[in-house]
């Protein structure tokens, strides 16, 4: 089954908003390449997002994603989550 990447991006945004208790401009988020540039992620925020994404997509990240660098790459994250959505 294929998933529309836009929907995945929207779900990522909502998970990030919920995790950090913030509102994100959808248009700006849709154009962003890196989550960490966009939000200035610190270590705790990265973990909050990590867990929120797992809850939203109902799965557990594999070992390689325990990294802010990897988690921050929105395009790669979106592709990874699209496979699991």
């Amino acid at each position: 089954m294929t998933t529309n990447p836009d929907n995945v991006r929207t779900r990522i945004r909502k998970a990030v908003e919920q995790a950090l208790g913030i509102e994100i401009d959808p248009a700006e988020f849709a154009e962003s390449d890196r989550l960490d540039d966009f939000l200035g992620l610190d270590s705790i925020a990265a973990m909050e997002i990590f867990v929120a994404l797992e809850t939203e997509f109902n799965f557990q990240f594999d070992e390689s994603f325990y990294s802010t660098e990897k988690l921050g790459d929105l395009k790669a994250l979106e592709a990874y989550l699209a496979d699991r959505a």
């Binding site: 992620l41 610190d42 270590s43 990265a46 973990m47 557990q60 660098e69």
Partner: protein, 320 residues
């Protein structure tokens, strides 16, 4: 009771070195410790270190009189809560002695374990840790900075429970000059890597994720409630005053469901004592602030009680 103000500040980095003098007495002591003393002790058999302690303790009691008075001043507000018969003066002397013993033991740390010179009659309450780990969410051992902490951590590792520590790459360097800050402190941080072992630096952007990974793998993480390796702190009543306690770990606890157990480390290599207590009751909450409000106070009270029961074992009455 916890105050409502959650405090965020960057205390991981030391104050800017611009305001420091070039070289201080503390720099001189650290220079001697990290170079000539380290090389000299490195040539001694580990079992001779206690003799060196006997020589050095009186010297440090003499040159450390200002520090001793500092410890006594910090003890004054809690004097009524100290164990019967214990006085700030006697505790401050024991504190200085423990500081010297620990500094020397750090120099021969690996050889102490390799040579079987660490004497510990088991780990009290190990069943609490094993019970907590059986739930499959890892365990956080909560402690304060005690002189026996590093020995205890290695002893735990030898019992099959290696605990990850969270360390600052540039700890606060009060009393150090620019030379100490730039040259000696990084050297000391490096020197302690094999002593502390199994660590993650708080400055790493992946710090929390690495902790989460360890816990999800069923591992153990050691958190110091009196540490400064966090970006969020809460001001709580502590030892007759207030203290800013790091609370970042409680977000990890909230999100991972990991149990938190108190860890008490006492003594030195000749009489190491390690006690793990039963897990703190976990109070669920809607959000981070409420979770901290509900769960931090009993943890702070337990750590405070441990310090007051064994005041000479707590490193942070003053920073040497």
């Amino acid at each position: 009771m916890v105050t409502n103000s959650q405090i965020e500040r960057n205390v991981i980095a030391s104050p800017p070195p611009k305001s420091r003098p070039l070289f201080t007495v503390k720099d001189a002591l650290w220079l001697v410790y990290l170079y000539p003393l380290r090389f000299f002790v490195g040539c001694l058999p580990a079992q001779l270190v206690p003799r060196l302690e006997r020589l050095m303790v009186p010297l440090f009691l003499l040159i450390g009189s200002r520090q001793r008075r500092g410890v006594e001043a910090k003890l004054a507000p809690v004097a009524q809560r100290l164990p019967p018969g214990r006085t700030p003066r006697e505790i401050s002397r024991a504190y200085m002695r423990n500081a010297v013993v620990r500094a020397l033991e750090d120099l021969v740390f690996e050889r102490l374990f390799r040579g079987g010179h660490v004497h510990c009659d088991g780990i009290e309450g190990l069943n609490h840790l094993e019970e907590a780990l059986s739930a499959g969410r890892g365990a956080i051992l909560l402690s304060v900075h005690s002189f026996a902490g590093r020995l205890a951590k290695h002893q735990l590792a030898r019992s099959g429970h290696s605990a990850m520590s969270i360390r600052s790459q540039s700890p606060q360097a009060g009393g150090m000059g620019r030379f100490g800050h730039r040259v000696l402190q990084p050297r000391y941080v490096k020197f302690l890597e094999p002593v502390i072992g199994d660590e993650v630096y708080a400055q790493s952007p992946d710090c929390s994720l690495q902790i989460l990974r360890r816990l999800r793998a069923g591992g153990v993480v050691n958190v110091h409630l009196d540490g400064n390796t966090s970006r969020t702190f809460r001001e709580v009543p502590f030892l007759g005053g207030t203290a800013l306690l790091p609370v970042g770990f409680l977000d990890i606890v909230r999100l991972s469901g990991t149990p938190v157990l108190p860890l008490l480390c006492l003594g030195n290599s000749r009489n190491l004592r390690i006690c793990v207590g039963p897990a703190f009751d976990r109070v669920p909450a809607e959000n981070s602030d409420e979770f901290i409000d509900a769960n931090l106070p009993p943890m702070a009270r337990k750590m405070e009680a441990d310090i007051l029961a064994h005041p000479e074992q707590w490193e942070l009455w003053i920073k040497l």
